[in-house]
């Protein structure tokens, strides 16, 4: 190989430049105002630059020998190996291992020196944190990775099993050490480091075993999943449920007020003699075990025997167990609060991971039972698509839905209040917006850069109807926020029509600028029409939602968790409706005008009506999000509805995978979670920069997005050589 062709020189140069840019990205902030070169010099003329240049060289070398590396990369086990190693490194370097405020940021690097010198801490933890061998946890990681790497390359059985053993031991040891530290500290803990580390290690162990056990040269992850989930429908959920149940029953904390971490064993002692219901006493004494075993057995039997009737029984047992668990949790936490247990606050508060994990376990078992009962098959339920791409079988997608639901329902209560707030105000709200915009951008193919305007209209409508704007509604129209939903949705629908009607003649980029202008006009009106919208000060004191129907009396207060469940209902309803919409006549008409408007028109699609409907439906979703936002946050002003937010929502939809509902949800969730996560890792001012880089890399290496829609995936990969208006990247003259 001739190394000195000009092409190689160019590539090396660009890799080195990449190294310098990386150095600038992690380098210091700018210095003083008379010295513009400070940041540049102190990043570039610093010994550290060598590391970055070496990174550049490494990328160059990898690029040079790429064709020889690829056969190794597609081997079975490489992907879980990389993902697992990355999770463990992230867990060690970036995530918190404890929430205790006395221990600084709680990362492993801060915790370890303290833990290894603390007397009274158990030896499992002290050895893990390095009292015998400094940095033992890194050492174990390196050994596990080396052994597994050797297994992946040589495929020697001994390396594989040794790697798997070391990885499993390291992961479990880390978790035990973490639990011991938290028992020692005695304070409630929400950190995720140990769990992520364990999962990463398990992935590495799985990779090691896969490497030596599998026959083929190429990884077949999809086929593997199909086999696992297709073997016995629902069985993976049962296995996960069993593992989670064991963790919950034996290890996890069930109740954690200020200075206490009570496991299940201590619960019955804790509540002896307290005015709890007999159900609660029985539950902590023996009932929980019976329920768990019964439910597990029923689900396992149903899955194994593929018996519909047992499936229904398992569903019922799981659901009843879930309800009993929830009522016991409510009763116990309420009594603890009324008796003033060690700073316990109100009902539903202070419950530990164990209790919520038990709920998640019961819902997984219920889901497994329901899957058997509804006779979901392991083979693809839908007919194989004509474009030849693999259709994920119903068994896999249903299992994923059950897991996501269990996570969304029962993980948030165990998170810190900071993350609960982020979950509601950022992640959840933008997920709802992205799902709405997905209709306009992803399905109908209309680029809308002013989507946030409808969100603003929804919010201001709520403010008007609750009487918090200078211009007040007539007395009989004063409403509570939830009753404002139909009005706000209707008004947004009309606004969507109003925007859509005059702009329908416009194509592509003209539409983009008009919608962008519309968004700006709405914001400027909100900012300047003082007598109507209260100008830049905005509306404040918007009441919180209340439901008051007959015996039901729900009132939302300050707790973000309550809003999370409200939001979950909204998202759930919208997603269910849209899922039906996607494959309906309307959804297919959208796809048609997206692909080729002229052809669609010629085939009898009423393009005007269909486009207007896309605008209206997208806008009304946004209006719903606006109502939620206004009533949750309580005050709104024009700065909440900047053009930048509109652009970001488009970015979420495309990042997740245009035209795919799970994609839009995942894209919005990942990109709104990331800034909050980066807050602990990089200077706050640099977060946007890293997010920009992530978006850029995603588009370069995976332009179809995180979870691409089936149809789009086919466009990119399935139909070689066939181009449509959207897939044409190289310009064709004239109309797009």
């Amino acid at each position: 190989m001739n190394l000195l062709t000009s092409d190689h020189v160019k590539r090396l140069a660009s890799c080195l430049v990449l190294g310098v840019v990386l150095a600038l990205m992690v380098g210091p902030q700018e210095g003083n105002q008379s010295d513009f070169g400070y940041a540049f010099r102190s990043a570039v003329f610093h010994p550290r630059i060598i590391v970055f240049l070496l990174i550049g060289v490494a990328i160059f070398v990898a690029n040079l020998f790429w064709s020889r590396i690829v056969p190794y990369l597609v081997r079975p086990g490489v992907r879980p190996f990389v993902a697992g190693a990355a999770s463990v490194v992230a867990s060690y370097a970036l995530l918190n291992w404890t929430d205790n405020t006395n221990l600084n940021n709680g990362k492993l690097g801060t915790l370890a020196p303290l833990a290894r010198t603390t007397h009274g801490l158990g030896s499992i933890a002290r050895v893990f944190y390095g009292s015998a061998v400094p940095g033992l946890y890194w050492l174990m990681l390196i050994i596990a990775l080396l052994l597994t790497g050797a297994a992946l390359i040589t495929r020697r059985t001994a390396f594989g099993w040794a790697g798997a053993a070391v990885a499993t031991i390291a992961g479990v040891w880390g978790l035990l050490a973490h639990l011991e530290v938290n028992d020692f500290l005695g304070s409630p803990d929400h950190s995720t480091g140990a769990v992520v580390g364990l999962l990463g290690y398990l992935a590495v162990a799985g990779a090691a075993i896969t490497a030596v056990r599998s026959e083929g040269e190429k990884a077949d992850t999809g086929g593997f999943l199909e086999r696992v989930f297709g073997f016995r429908v629902g069985l993976p959920l049962v296995v996960l449920g069993a593992l989670g149940g064991v963790v919950s029953l034996f290890f996890a904390t069930w109740f954690s007020p200020t200075n206490r971490n009570a496991g299940l064993g201590e619960m019955s002692k804790l509540f002896t003699g307290e005015p709890v219901s007999s159900l609660t006493t029985a539950y902590f004494g023996w009932l929980v075990w019976i329920l768990f075993v019964l439910s597990l057995a029923a689900s396992a039997a149903a899955c194994w025997l593929r018996d519909t009737r047992i499936g229904w029984v398992a569903t019922a047992v799981g659901a009843i167990s879930l309800l009993i668990t929830l009522s016991v949790m409510h009763d116990a936490s309420g009594v603890a609060a009324s008796q003033g247990f060690d700073g316990a606050t109100t009902a539903w508060q202070n419950l530990g991971v164990g209790a919520w994990l038990m709920c998640a376990v019961f819902s997984m078992l219920t889901g497994a039972g329901a899957m058997v009962a509804r006779q979901i098959t392991g083979r693809s339920g839908a007919p194989a698509s004509s474009d030849g791409t693999a259709v994920r079988s119903a068994a896999v997608s249903q299992a994923i839905i059950v897991l996501v639901l269990a996570f969304a329902l029962f993980y948030p209560p165990t998170a810190t209040s900071f993350w609960q707030t982020v979950l509601v105000t950022e992640i959840g709200t933008y997920v709802l917006l992205a799902v709405g915009l997905n209709v306009v951008v992803g399905w109908a193919g209309l680029l809308d850069l002013g989507f946030i305007a409808f969100y603003a209209i929804g919010s201001y409508t709520t403010a008007y109807l609750t009487g918090t704007l200078p211009i007040r509604p007539p007395h009989w129209l004063l409403l509570s926020p939830l009753l404002a939903i139909p009005f706000a949705v209707t008004i947004c629908l009309l606004a969507g029509l109003a925007l859509g009607a005059p702009t329908l003649r416009l194509r592509g980029d003209y539409l983009a600028i008009v919608t962008l202008g519309f968004g700006e006009i709405i914001r400027i009106i909100a900012n300047n029409a003082n007598s109507v919208t209260n100008g830049p000060k905005g509306a404040f004191g918007i009441p919180t939602p209340v439901i008051h129907i007959g015996p039901i009396n729900l009132r939302w207060g300050q707790d973000p968790l309550q809003y999370w469940y409200l939001l979950l209902v909204f998202i759930g309803v919208v997603v269910l409706l849209f899922r039906r919409l996607e494959d309906s006549r309307l959804g297919r008409a959208w796809a048609a005008i997206r692909e080729d408007e002229v052809a669609a028109q010629a085939s009898g699609v009423n393009t005007t009506r269909v486009k207007l409907l896309a605008f209206a439906i997208g806008a009304s979703t946004s209006g719903l999000a606006g109502v939620f936002f206004a009533s949750q946050i309580g005050f709104i002003n024009p700065d909440d509805f900047l053009l930048n937010n509109s652009i970001l929502v488009v970015a979420y939809v495309v990042f997740g995978g245009m035209g795919s509902l799970p994609g839009a949800i995942a894209g919005a969730a990942v990109l709104t979670w990331m800034p909050e996560f980066l807050k602990d890792q990089v200077p706050a001012e640099d977060r946007q920069m890293w997010i920009g880089a992530v978006i850029l890399l995603m588009m370069i290496f995976r332009p179809q997005g995180l979870i691409p829609a089936r149809r789009r995936a086919a466009e990119l990969h399935g139909l070689e050589g066939v181009s449509s208006a959207e897939t044409t990247a190289v310009p064709r003259g004239g109309a797009m």
């Binding site: 513009f36 519309f518 920069m689």
Partner: protein, 317 residues
Amino acid sequence: MTDFLNFLVAGLSRGSMYALIALGYTLVYGVLQLINFAHSEVFMSGAFGSLIIINTVVGRGTHTLPWYGVVGVLLLGLLSGAITGAIVAWTLERVAYRPLRRRGAPKLAFLISAIGMSFFLSELAGKMFNRLNDNNFPLYFSPNRHILHLGGVYVTLPQLVPIVSALLMMVFLDRLVSKTKLGRSIRGVAEDAPTAALMGIDIDKTIARTFIIGGALGGAAGFLFGTAFTVSNTMGFIPGVKAFAAAVLGGIGNIRGAMLGGLTLGMIEAIVPTAPWGSNHAWIGIQWTDAVAFVVLVLVLMFRPTGLLGERLGRSA
């Protein structure tokens, strides 16, 4: 009347900057049919590039310069801004566009990669240079130095320079696109890329050069904008959006359209919200400037859905 003329001059000045930036959007749209959302950051980098060069060469400018010194500094600023802009635009094409083109990515993926690049560049510039409290050009660009005083109409240096230099650059670009070989290949790619490729035009190279030309104009506009206002890492966003609107107003993909659209938008912004000129009680008020601009844009597009002059780079020049 003199008040009106004052606003008109201000509008012309602002409009010619819009026009320069809009040319970048329109050129790229012509060859790729894509909105280059990161063009606003090219503009911003041009401002920073020229600011750094000028500060290095002539210092912070507390002393006065003779007239040829001012002209020299202006030329230096335009040149350094243009070169920085061209480099950034070329990098942008290599990093955010070419890999996606190779993969045959959907159209929106280009938009999002450009947005990602835009965030990245803007915040990297912020990290490197901004968040300082004084990013202004030296004093001899101070808006208070009137150089022309015609019957009550004040024309300041930062107003005059953009008009003159934008005019020169537009004439230059127009000649470039209509007369030279490069211009012919740009028009060829815009008209029909596959056929142009068959005729022996290197499409990748032509696209890269189109980015470079657009970037140079945008970078020079960045310098001009910086002298009139201030330099910051977020300075690109609003002029970028306005210039995009101007390009669409004139007919995106159409070079003369971008010039016309830029000048029109700048003048509308300066004149309409301030009417009746000179009175303290404007009918509309400057706080509605942006709204007026967008309303005019929407109205024009409702009656002429492809902009004032229609699209197509290939046909126009």
